[in-house]
Structure formats: structure tokens, C-alpha cells
Symmetry: C2
């Protein structure tokens, strides 16, 4: 269905099976929030959850809550709740630490597995994209520099060059499933198969795909995955991240961050580390309970729909956005950075423009919230749980008005955080 | 002043300059909370802070709050607020991640500094106590196993043997300032000097001393320190931890957890890691903002007193507890594990007993909250900000009643979490 008027968008919203879920979020009147790919909006339930944890669990029950409120089990319980959204089985996911730290564990474990196998011990290259989210590259740099065993990071410029770059020296392919900047969606099953064909392992960062696009980790036979809970999962600012280790790799999953939460007997107070069996060996230290607990309020909402419904609406929203921008802003040198092909499009859309930063500031001043990414990219995220077709229509109207009338300050100073 | 009656304790409470601070905490009527060394009680202000962050910063302002609410600067701002409590200078502390992960960074950095200096490159031993909190030992095991450069962990059985164990092969001495089990308080200045005399570096874990005893990191010329914000600092369950790197070591502070928050230009999206100058190079990934922000409410209360006043009351409380237990429970084979000497006593007191676990459960059933630690230890924490002399008196009355009448279940099953 091609939506060619604001009225048609309003009708589409009425027909949208996800329409009711929007009411579950705190969204200011008049704001069009297109940045859920950076920080997800707040489920109303998150405040009630935090108040309960602070008042009852911490305030009244204090130390007892480690047992009675299940704080110690929270990383596993939330992991199991999240698992179906990413095609993982029960007891394969924990919610803990940060995406960067979880990636460190996964890279370390993958290199260790490769190094222990005589068939792969010679492999020294880690392949990733030069446009991968920088912290992913930095974490790989960190561990390879410290291991000091000749590992080398190969940065691929274009996703099309990925498959042909994998060769016999490739130890590890490490990608963000949906590129944070371009919104390019990798074919997880194909890339993983290419990696395996050359004896390499494959780690996926799901920061921009968990809760946004269908993910089938086990079906793709992926090796490890990490991801973030504060974007499309709406877990709250800086909410702890997740790590997925499939059952087939758990027994050999070893990493250097061997803290007491990953110990086989954490309260026996032993003097030597012995990894617990199963997914909890991916844990390290004590977790921030209030921030962790709020993640449940975000995950609960996914029980009222499914990832295919979310995907269908996501593509309809991004299709509409691209069509409208290209139609009403045709004269303004906007370059679409995001793939047109549904097969390779995530849930955000990026356009390049000489004055991208200034234009984003002008949009924000009108309560249309997108964000800016270096170099010269305007990024707009579409969250099917709360973004409406009318939001998209109105956002593009604002954008075209700003562009047509040059209502942005070309000399604005950049002040970019996040 | 020796307190020999409940009346005298009540009078001492009235005279106590910290008495008013107790009102700032949520403490259930009738509960005697002696476990602030495990999870600090809740400042009333923490709920207001969380509500503000959730409702206004996340809920209303969403992504803008990274700038407008100062989320990105929070680790440094809280670090600077915490610094005076541990004898640190401004811009030497950040609040981030967990104690285990921060210790990993500190150990990695110390071993790196030692390995780069020809005078110390041969050193291969890390000295710690066998009774150190297990995760500290495990993190050292994790990094040494992965570096695979011949490092060896030497576990000391008694604090008296520490100084004589340090020798020319010692690369690193790593201790918890106040032992989590015995409450033994190490002489930071003396031990650090002994380590330096042998060319070793010295890392201190302040989990049981920050906010509990005066700490003078710079005066002691310590090398690195880490610690936790959810015990005596009352930051909330699993609140992010802190790491101290003195100015003299910051330029050479390098660790493998090189995430984007530690980058010199985190938003320039570069493809290579370059550590930021200063303390923020100890950061790694995005932090759990709600749990992080609540720490401020705990720290704020310390501005109304000083560490010497806290120390004086702490010693008076632990003196009273030891005296009363030894007086009224004299016939019950309780063995004091904590040093009698003020010089070596932290802010908790531990007694050994054959039925320690069962006795602690009986106390908890009466709302006297202490905790159990393997092997056979009852542990009682005294938090001068909210523990009263009358609390101490009453707790010992309960203990003696339970012991005198054997009101505990010797066959109870152990179910120990935390």
C-alpha cells in the first residue's frame, strides 16, 4: 500500500495491529521521536518497576532481595525472556555488563577456540567493516594487542567485499548485523556460512537488530552474539547488554573476565576460578539491579506481538520515509545511504547532506528527533512499537520545509555526544 | 566511654553528631540492619533521584539527556564527588562498570607498566591474600592465564606474612584494604612502601573501606585502586563501581578493555583506538544511567560529615559490639575473627561459631540482619551514618538470647546467595 496523503497515513495507523502498543510508552505530545535506534522510548511500566525495586526490594527487604527478589538470577531470567526475539534457545543468553565488554568476552572465546584447534591455530585475521560501530573495532584492537600473538584486523570498506575477503587466514568475522550508520542489514546466514566454509568463526553484534528485525541466531548457525537493551528493546538509558553463547559452544566458552558471578560455586569462596557450566560463565561481577530490572518492562511488550509483524511495519515505515523524502525533497541533494532493497535494510534510514548536522538541529528544535552521525549523515530510526505512519508523514513535511526555506544554520558549531 | 546499659546507649545516640543522618535513610521500624557492608541502606533521596532520571531525563528528554542532563559526564562527576572520601585528587576517579572489571583494568595496566620497564620486566609474581575476596583472585587468574607470560599468583595466608613475602620477583601486590571476612584493615601506607621498596606496584580494593574508614590513597602513594559503591557508600544494589588512577600514572595507564568511552574522540567514529588523556581512559562502554545516577544520593550525605567523625563512631560501635558479645555470650564458644586493635579493624566484626549459619538465620528471623560467610563466620557491619549504639546493644541481646536458649536450627540447610 502506497500512502500518498496524511489522511491515508492516519487510516493506516488505525488499521495497524501495533497501534495500541504506542499507548504503553511515554512520548511527549507533539514530539516525533525517530531516535529509538539510539535510545528507546520509555515504557510506562519501567517507572512502576523501578519504584518497586527501589522501595520494596532495596528499601524494605535490603540484602534479602538477592534471594527473595531473584536479583542473582536476573541476568538469566531476562536472557531467557529475550532469547525468542533473536532466535536463541533457553539458557543461551544472559543480560549483563556492556556491549563492549560482552564483545570482548566473545572475541576472546572465539580466538581461544580457534587457537586450541590445530586445524585453525594458524589463523590470524579478524575481519570486520571499517564502518562497524567504532567500539567493536576498538575492543578487537584491545584484545589482539594484549594477546600479542600476531592477530591482525582487516577492515572491509564495502559489505559486497565481505564474502570474497574471507580466506584461509581468517580466524574470525565480526559484524554488526545492522550497520549503525548506513542501516545495511547483513545476511547473517550467508555470511556465517561463508565464514564457516573457511574455518572462521562469526560473531554478530545485534545492537541495531534485536527487537528491530527478525534474528535467527541458531538457524544461521552463528557462533556468538552480543547486543544492547537500550535501543529497540526500550530497556532504559545504558541498560545492561546481552551475550548469546549457543549450547554447542558453552563447554569451551572461556574468556579472561573470570569474575565470581561466572564461578561454579560463587558463594563457596574458593581461591581458584572454576567456570560454571552453561551460559552463566559469561557473567563476571555484580550487576546494577535497578537498571537491569527495568529491561523487563521493555521485553514484556514484545509478548504482545511478534518479530514478523514488527518487521512488516518497519519496512512499511522506512519505505514511506524514503518515498516521501525523495518525492518532496527531490531538489535538495539528499543522498540515500541506506539500501533500498528490503533484504538489506534495517529499521533506520540515513541520508547524507552537506549540512546534515545543521538540519538535524533544526528538526530537533521542531521536536522531530533524529540524530547526526559523522560524516555528514542524518539518521532516522523507526520503532514499529511506537512510530506511526503519521509521524513519518509529518517528519518529512518538517524536513522539506526546513530545506525549502533553508531554515538551518550552516555555521552551527558541532556539539555531538552519543 | 564504656557503655554499660541500654540507657547509656540511648544517651550516646542523642549525643552522636551523626544521629540526624539516620533520618535520611529508609530503615524499617524494628529492623536492626547490620549488613551495610554488603548492601548499604537506601537514602530517601535515591528514590527521588531515580524518579527524576526516569520521568524527566529518559521519559521526556530522551536522547537529548546525554548532553542536557550530563549523562556522558556522570562517571567523572561522581568520581570527583567520591575522590575526597578516599584521599584522591580531582580527575583521578571515575565511577563505571563493576569492581571485578575495574580490577582487571588496574591489574592489566600495572603488569604492562612493569613489563615495559627493563628494571622490572623480569618480575612475575602477584601477591595477594588467600582470604581476599574471591573475585579479586579470579580476575588476576583470568588476566595472567590469558597473557601467558609466566605470571604466578602467590596467596598469603596471614597478613603478618605479607611484608616478608614481597621480594625482587614481586610485580604486584593486590589487596583488599579491609578484608571482607575478617575485617582486618591493612596499613596501606606501610604495605605500599614495602612493595615500592622491592620495585613492585600496589593495587587496593576499597570495597569494604570507601565510606567506612579514612583512606588516603595519594598520601600512601598507592598505585591504583578500585572499589564498590553499593556498600558503605549506599549507592544502590549493584551500583557501578569506581577506579582510581593517580595523575602520575595516567599517561601510561593502558588496559585491553579499550571501548569507545575511553577514546580521545568518542564521537569522531575513528577506526583506531586512541586513549583519551586523563582518567576517562579507564572507561569502556555505555553505563547504566539510572543505577549510576542514584549513587549521587549516597555520596551527598557524606558532605554533612567527615571520614574522621565516621571512623570515631565506627570504632565506638565495633568496640561496644565486641565488648558486649564477649560479656553476655562468654559461655558460647564465639571466636573473634576481627582484630581487637583499632589500627587493624575495619567497620565490620566477625565471629566464628560451629553453628554460625543457623544463628544468623535465627537473628534474621528477629529482624537483626547480619550475614554468613564461609567458613563458619557470622559477619556484622556497622555503618556510622545509620547504625545506633542502641542497635548494637539490642542486637547483642538478641544474639545472647538465641545462644542461651539454643533457639536456632542446627540442621538448617544452607542457602547462601551473596
Amino acid at each position: 500500500m502506497r500512502l500518498t496523503s496524511r489522511n491515508a497515513c492516519q487510516t493506516a495507523d488505525q488499521l495497524d495491529s501495533l497501534h495500541d502498543l504506542r499507548k504503553e510508552f511515554r512520548l511527549a505530545d507533539g514530539m516525533i521521536y525517530l531516535d529509538g535506534n539510539s535510545l528507546g522510548a520509555q515504557p510506562h511500566a519501567a517507572m512502576r518497576k523501578a519504584q518497586h525495586v527501589i522501595e520494596n526490594e532495596w528499601g524494605n527487604d535490603l540484602i534479602k532481595s538477592w534471594n527473595t527478589a531473584g536479583w542473582f538470577d536476573l541476568p538469566s531470567r531476562l536472557g531467557n525472556q529475550l532469547a525468542p526475539l533473536i532466535g536463541a534457545d533457553p539458557n543461551e543468553v544472559v543480560v549483563t555488563d556492556t556491549t563492549s565488554i560482552n564483545l570482548f568476552k566473545a572475541i576472546a572465546a572465539a580466538l581461544d577456540i580457534q587457537a586450541r584447534d590445530p586445524a585453525t591455530a594458524h589463523k590470524k585475521t579478524i575481519i570486520t567493516e571499517s564502518s562497524n560501530f567504532p567500539t567493536d573495532i576498538y575492543m578487537a584492537e584491545g584484545i589482539t594487542r594484549w594477546l600479542d600473538r600476531g592477530y591482525h584486523i582487516q577492515l572491509i570498506e564495502s559489505p559486497e567485499d565481505l564474502a570474497t575477503s574471507i580466506n584461509d587466514d581468517t580466524a574470525l568475522v565480526m559484524l554488526t548485523h545492522v550497520n549503525y550508520r548506513s542501516g545495511y542489514l547483513h545476511d547473517m546466514q550467508y555470511v556465517t556460512a561463508q565464514a564457516h566454509q573457511h574455518g572462521a568463526m562469526c560473531i554478530w553484534d545485534l545492537a541495531h537488530s534485536a527487537g528491530a528485525v527478525p534474528v535467527e541466531l541458531n538457524k544461521a548457525n552463528a557462533d556468538f552474539a552480543v547486543g544492547c537493551c537500550y535501543k529497540y528493546l526500550n530497556g532504559g538509558p545504558g541498560a545492561p547488554a546481552f551475550i548469546w553463547v549457543p549450547h554447542r559452544h558453552q563447554a569451551q566458552f572461556a574468556h579472561p573476565l573470570t569474575g565470581w558471578w561466572g564461578h561454579a560455586a560463587p558463594f563457596a569462596m574458593q581461591t581458584h576460578f572454576e567456570a560454571t557450566p552453561g551460559i552463566r560463565r559469561a557473567l563476571c561481577g555484580t550487576q546494577p539491579i535497578v537498571s537491569l530490572a527495568m529491561i523487563e518492562s521493555g521485553l514484556d511488550l514484545f509478548a504482545r506481538t511478534n518479530m514478523q509483524t514488527i518487521r512488516d511495519k518497519s519496512l512499511a515505515l522506512t519505505d514511506l520515509f524514503i518515498q516521501r523524502v525523495e518525492h518532496v525533497c527531490a531538489s535538495h541533494q539528499l543522498e540515500l545511504v541506506t539500501p533500498r532493497s528490503h533484504q538489506h535494510r534495517g529499521s533506520h534510514v540515513s541520508f547524507k547532506h552537506e549540512h546534515a548536522y545543521a538540519i538535524i538541529q533544526a528538526l530537533i528544535a521542531r521536536q522531530v528527533i533524529g540524530d547526526y552521525r559523522e560524516p555528514g549523515i542524518m539518521r532516522f530510526g523507526f520503532t514499529p512499537l511506537y512510530t506511526s505512519f503519521t509521524d513519518v508523514w509529518d517528519a518529512v513535511e518538517h524536513l522539506s520545509d526546513i530545506l525549502d526555506k533553508q531554515l538551518y544554520d550552516k555555521n552551527i558549531q558541532r556539539n555531538v555526544v552519543t
